[in-house]
Symmetry: C2
Subunit: 201 residues, 2 copies
Amino acid sequence: MVRTVAPTRTRSGGPRLDASRDAAIASAVLEVLGRAGYAGLTMDAVALAAGVGKATIYRRWSSKAELLLSVLDVVGAPVLEVPDTGGRRDDLVTVLSEVVTLVGGPSGRALRSLLGAVVDDPALQEGCCRLPLANWDAAWSAVLARAVARGEVPAGAGESVAAEVGPAVLVLRWLVTGRPLDGTVVPELVDRVVLPLLRCR
Amino acid sequence: MVRTVAPTRTRSGGPRLDASRDAAIASAVLEVLGRAGYAGLTMDAVALAAGVGKATIYRRWSSKAELLLSVLDVVGAPVLEVPDTGGRRDDLVTVLSEVVTLVGGPSGRALRSLLGAVVDDPALQEGCCRLPLANWDAAWSAVLARAVARGEVPAGAGESVAAEVGPAVLVLRWLVTGRPLDGTVVPELVDRVVLPLLRCR
């Protein structure tokens, strides 16, 4: 399921997704990507999966690259809402749990299939892969910065390589080792890795 | 460059790569994968890049999947040589530096292009992606286990989620954020993240 949001404009400058039919198309793009990879992402396959005519898609997007950038704008948007639970531990758990939810769903499968597929197209690679992932990175940095502002972690913690370990372990499990990636890993990661690292610097 | 090793048999059970022509073919497979992705990996493209006839390739491998598994066997093999410098810090730095070298070269680009390409083929995904990456993981675990045996880190350190952070940060930079991934990150990672985590448990 694509989480529905309605940004007033897209960050990539492409046409905005804003209607229920667009949500069906966005879901179809993610589903096709996750199942058939970037090579299998065709306008025909998206139209079939979304239950719309191909002309409906072409009226809005002239190419699969343009369609993809619109969809990724929507996928990346929700995690821009940085949690503020009032304490660093719960903030950290919340933002990392959001990442777990995202990568475990259709968005994650779609992003995974894109990571290596667009290596020969720098513009598309930037738009496809960096955009949603950069948002997660920004949310994580914002949570750390707020913890610094509250005096809960030392100044400069957000710029240290130690700041990368939370998202890094999730990405390692997601893309490489296939170790369990569910709700239980996040509290363990925060309590045994992220907070000890911040405390013992 | 494919690092030349001559395992007596392949772990995937495929034909063994053992001659200089095979090394040229293996280099060609990685080069084509890194440039054109899995979809662009054809026997024709490999033959052209290796400077051999297509028949030469088909005499040994009946499909691109089989060829790919042979090549990945060779790519994954070197890191099975676990460093033993006599001390945990230098062991950790050495094994992580090997990972940096591998992912920064043709093997890394090839693996990256495979990560998402073979999602619809579980057998190929297992062979392609897990095999070399599992070897890095095994080398890392072996170094941690030796440090435990020497009494340099607490027992159980290798099974903790904290054990994943070293490789995890490298993978995050390699596949997701694009932050610098060179020789300088490894000592910082070991000294500011891995060793403090092991010490302050």
